[in-house]
Symmetry: none
Subunit: 120 residues, 4 copies
Amino acid sequence: MVDAALAEAARLGVPQCVAVVDSGGHLLAFARSDGARIGSISIALTKAVSAATRKRPTAEEGGGDPIMTIRLALAAERLTGIGGGLPLVIDGHVVGAVGVSSGTVDEDTTVARAGLAALA
Amino acid sequence: MVDAALAEAARLGVPQCVAVVDSGGHLLAFARSDGARIGSISIALTKAVSAATRKRPTAEEGGGDPIMTIRLALAAERLTGIGGGLPLVIDGHVVGAVGVSSGTVDEDTTVARAGLAALA
Amino acid sequence: MVDAALAEAARLGVPQCVAVVDSGGHLLAFARSDGARIGSISIALTKAVSAATRKRPTAEEGGGDPIMTIRLALAAERLTGIGGGLPLVIDGHVVGAVGVSSGTVDEDTTVARAGLAALA
Amino acid sequence: MVDAALAEAARLGVPQCVAVVDSGGHLLAFARSDGARIGSISIALTKAVSAATRKRPTAEEGGGDPIMTIRLALAAERLTGIGGGLPLVIDGHVVGAVGVSSGTVDEDTTVARAGLAALA
């Protein structure tokens, strides 16, 4: 998944941080490409953990309402409503998630989707 | 950089905390002038770390949208959208950053700029 | 480096967590093989960060004295004297480090060495 | 104090991290010389905070007994028995402290003393 996501990031010309976690939100794999921001490492991980443990894309957190997602984030750890975190669903079960950060939200989401697609 | 920033702070008559970090966000130098707030030490450091590791002025974080920067800050550590953190760019590369806190955002930014200018 | 380390881990029949960081101690790559302990994720990262930012193998921390390494660990973050963290030295400069955890200290060290060797 | 300490460090040929805090243990000034370990930043700060808030040289913490200092460190924050933290005493009052880290304990202590001496 990480390799596929990084390949998509390279195709877009956007350096990225890509994190993959299991269903418990624990890190399985991570890669940061040259030029990706150090300050995005933690954001990629938060997106992945959020998507895995909340069982939904980060962009759909709090019904998509930014203020609600802030209130949720303040009540939890590693929960975010910023797009770029996608759950990995197999046979209807969330078995993990991928989180991407260092580009725009659209770029992050595209790269995360490429990661998921590699398993399809 | 710290000396130049403090000189500008003295010229403005505003006590300040000034932090300089390397490209990894690790502290290189710090100074707090008489009267600067203890509670601003950590803010100055956060501004510097944010500017260095996110490779952009803190005021430009999250596209300048306060709600978005709150959401980002909740997904990371030492990330802020409050002005006063500026990356130090040499030959197109972010090699570190300066963060200033204890005055208004405008004063902090002016003092941070004076720090950067000292290296020009 | 991560792939080479995991290959060695597979050869030994020991599931492992492998973390690679840059000279600032920031995560570059990570992988956890099937069966490796979730509780070892953070230890692998700590070993890598310690070796990179202290510029020495974790086993040589505090002169190899367990009590001294406990005292150092209490004065810092992500510093450990447990073997399995090795700095990556190029031309005499520490440019990063690898940290391995989930096996015995000997196994972790062997896997970390295999990671370093992949770059030689 | 920082400048004097760094001058002594240069004389010894040992890169150092030097932290100066006020009586409340809050950072007043900091400098890291080229080559000093990133992993020593926090240790220098801990030594300074410990010396200021415990009003004694770090080497005298817990009566100099390593096990006792570990027990104390586990019960507090930023308390250490590792030498290199010295309180700054004026007219019998502890008004702050200096903490040094990145060399041996002897080197750190020598550099810390040079920092104190600059105020005498």
